[in-house]
Symmetry: C2
Subunit: 516 residues, 2 copies
């Protein structure tokens, strides 16, 4: 018989038990947070406010209209009932807008190459992902900026693929080492699609590149039917140049994408105080008006074509006119837009999680944290630019992307909210604990049950005591993120093409990434 | 006549004009954010949820009750209608609780030594400030922790005094260099009161120290009448030891404070999963029940005495049992409590802005940003521990306090919300801009008007472009905060006692801070 084992304190025993319990894997539908949790507890706009914004947007479409539609767009929209004025502006009668809203797709699915990553956009279901067109990478080790490359984009895709709370990858930065527009569009697709099996958003530079890129996607999918059955890439169309003008070239890209069965994001990216009215309400009015014009356009061309209502108004720092994506005003703009999306019952997206901070520092944390959380609480279906974005969208940072996963986890926990029922009210537990019980809740059945399903634990954020932290050598957050980055990037992509397909793609298309 | 001046670009000219405009001071009531902005747009609990929590709390008070009241408290509460069981627990009939709520003060003012800093607590009006009992200071330059001292407390008070968005100073840390309880209580008061003219919260260690400390406050005020007319210090009473036990000694402190005309904070600081039920709803139930017992206690002793309903439930990281104040669960707990305060119509307070992060890094930013913003949006009257708090309340950081001012500014901007009216809907501005106008909003009257009154500009957070940032030598956020700290601490306190008063105080009381 062995000697009495060294006694552990009861708390240490409890901790070991809890650690063991926590190590068991969880079914996807009982994890503390997940893609598609419904938001809607934050409502900065009253019902009257929403109606007033809707009315103002309709008036703007009727009386101001939009300039600069391409001839094809003029034809499509006038055929549906828009009128072209002598000032060349297309104006939209209210009835046309309302009819188009009737036709519009209300519940859409954005597919991933792996169906486990499909995003079901409806109601107030919330999804977070990357987006943007940063031109710089933030080098955390040196604290400097450099131009972004195709390899960076591929690395971002591979990292996003491994982060549970990053639900899709919209291209966050531009490969500055590929100057040719067509080659850039093609290689952007290659880097994203071979980097992650999650849904991908891209943004074609011009319509000329669309046919080749669609050929590429059909080849990856296996056939045109397979591609159209599960289009795993959507296109972000900056189809307007605010205020109230169509972006002629981008409209042609959009027409080409719709023709090819690709979901589109109707993106209106005005800047309050510069290209949109300075008041938050007015910026929302203009963005809603512009996106409603997009709804008319899309549904006149292809009724029910999957389109995301992309009111992305940004904020200016009015002292300088520069963008300030990390401001409280931005968080409100985005949340207000989410309420408008819910009012129309359309799948919607907007921007949050942008840091004005140049580095992933405390400022970046509060900027990304506040706007991501408010966007989710407002029930935004697609929270774009949610991770990795710095310098008011000019810089992307891989360490920040990784930390963003922890940050979004907390935002999602807030979205999940407070469940109130007879079990969670816990009167029975209180009774048995206080009346003759142990006087604490550490080991109760309820506590053990909830610790896995209700509480989210960060991957890299530190919750140790100062004493433990000292003993661990005072780990720095950014160094932990760099280590995680290197670990992920040392592994083969989850989404890499099989050798035969890759060879075919490289034979047909100007692929620049080396064979993996 | 002078030569033609060098032409500036139109944008640069506009920028100069905007900078000049911004330099003009603003009246306090038209600043973009201010103390007392009403919240209430974030509501994680439904009306049914609120009623269910209320009912469960009443049941808990009726059936479980609270143990360990001091004899004086037993007498006060049984005289009012509570019953003492054979198990020595005080139980509270529903009617008693409801009667006590009728008696309770609903709108209270927490005075500052300078009336400009008075806090009017009612409805969903939001105020942010410090609080806590940290035992460490975070040294940003070395990235290390050390014990907190009286000088640190004085420094924190002087810094808080200069920060617009820190509306009150509750003692955030314990002076570890003053071991004697009475001397610690007295010197805590001296450091806080001579450091800021904002409202001060303290927390007396035991009842024995109260008479001397009140003598001190009467001397500062000038007389007992002057003190009672404008009590500029409130006492934070941890009057319960959750679950459902009175803190015997702290109850005696509370009785002494009430007798001396000092506003009290009825603080219930359970920890979900340890000293409170693990579900968020259950932790709120228990905190509400405990604070309702406090309402009975206070109003049985002194009907209508100013008391803050201090449901401060914290969260455990259930893997370790350690506190996690920076979690999404914590943000929800605090916001849910704010809804309960509004339901009762009582002035309320809870904790937010706590970082688990050891240093003011990106993690600290999101932790503090998310919970502070949600607390404000939920309409919490007193957001305690809103700035400077690290290591799950064990560490306080002066640089973080300074950066917290910027962070809370953004939170307050979110609280201010979106104003919707015919001016902000901006249809007229859109018309004149788009139809024959300049095609942008940079110089419109509306933009210039709103830039001062609607947009908040951070003091230290960086919004420069990468190019400007490079040109400025890539300024680091924490270094800027340290420079600001040194600048403030090099100045004389705004709240320093005049020489005669200071001499009298030093003659009567064991003041440890050197003469300033």
């Amino acid at each position: 018989m062995n000697a009495e084992p060294k006694r552990r304190s009861p708390r240490a025993g409890g901790r070991a038990a809890r650690h063991a319990l926590r190590a068991a894997p969880l079914a996807a539908d009982v994890t503390p947070v997940r893609a598609g949790l419904p938001g809607g507890t934050f409502n900065p706009l009253s019902q009257d406010d929403i109606l007033a914004i809707h009315e103002a947007a309709l008036t703007a479409l009727e009386e101001i209209g939009l300039a600069d539609a391409p001839p094809s767009g003029v034809e499509i929209m006038t055929r549906a009932g828009a009128t072209l004025g002598e000032d060349k502006r297309l104006r939209f009668p209210r009835a046309l807008v309302m009819q188009s809203l009737e036709l519009a797709a209300r519940e859409i699915t954005l597919q991933g190459r792996d169906p486990a990553h499909d995003l079901h956009l409806s109601g107030s279901k919330v999804h977070y992902g990357t987006a943007g067109a940063a031109v710089h990478m933030v080098d955390v080790e040196t604290g400097t900026y450099r131009e972004s490359t195709l390899q960076d984009l591929y690395d971002a895709a591979r990292i996003a693929d491994r982060l549970d709370n990053v639900h899709f990858l919209q291209r966050p930065m531009v490969p500055r080492d590929i100057p040719d527009a067509q080659e850039m569009d093609l290689n952007t697709l290659y880097a994203c699609v071979s980097g992650t099996t999650k849904h991908i958003g891209t943004s074609f530079v011009d319509a000329v590149t669309v046919p080749m890129c669609l050929e590429f996607l059909r080849e990856v999918a296996g056939s045109d039917e397979a591609w159209r059955a599960r289009p795993f890439v959507s296109n972000s169309n900056c189809f307007v140049v605010p205020p109230m003008k169509f972006a002629t070239e981008s409209c042609l890209v959009m027409e080409a994408c719709i023709g090819a069965g690709m979901p589109v994001l109707l993106l209106s990216a005005g800047q309050a105080g510069a290209t949109a009215p300075a008041p938050i309400a007015g910026a929302i009015v203009q963005a809603v008006a512009e996106c409603l014009a997009g709804v008319v356009y899309v549904n006149a061309m292809a009724p029910g074509h999957p389109a995301i209502f992309g009111t992305w108004p940004f904020v200016s720092d009015l002292r300088t006119g520069a963008m300030s994506g990390g401001s409280g005003e931005q968080a409100l703009l985005t949340a207000g837009c989410a309420q408008m999306h819910r009012f129309y019952g359309l799948p919607g997206g907007a921007a949050a999680g942008i840091a004005d901070a140049k580095l992933p520092d405390m400022q970046a944390g509060w900027e990304q944290g506040i706007s991501n959380t408010l966007a989710g609480l407002a029930g935004l279906n697609m929270v774009y630019e949610a991770a990795g974005m710095h310098a008011s969208l000019l810089g992307f940072c891989l360490e920040s992307l990784i930390l963003g996963d922890d940050l979004i986890g907390q935002a999602l926990r807030c979205v999940r909210g407070i469940e109130v029922n007879s079990d969670t009210l816990a009167l029975d537990t209180m009774r048995s604990t206080c009346l003759g019980g142990p006087g604490h809740y550490l080991g109760t059945d309820q506590t053990l049950r909830l610790m896995q399903t209700e509480f989210i634990y960060p991957a890299l954020a530190d919750r140790s005591s100062p004493k433990e932290w000292e003993e661990n050598g005072r780990p720095e957050l950014l160094k932990k993120a760099t280590a995680r980055k290197e670990e992920i990037l040392s592994q083969r992509s989850n989404a890499v093409f099989d050798a035969g397909l890759d060879a075919r793609l490289r034979a047909r298309f100007p692929v620049k990434l080396p064979v993996q």
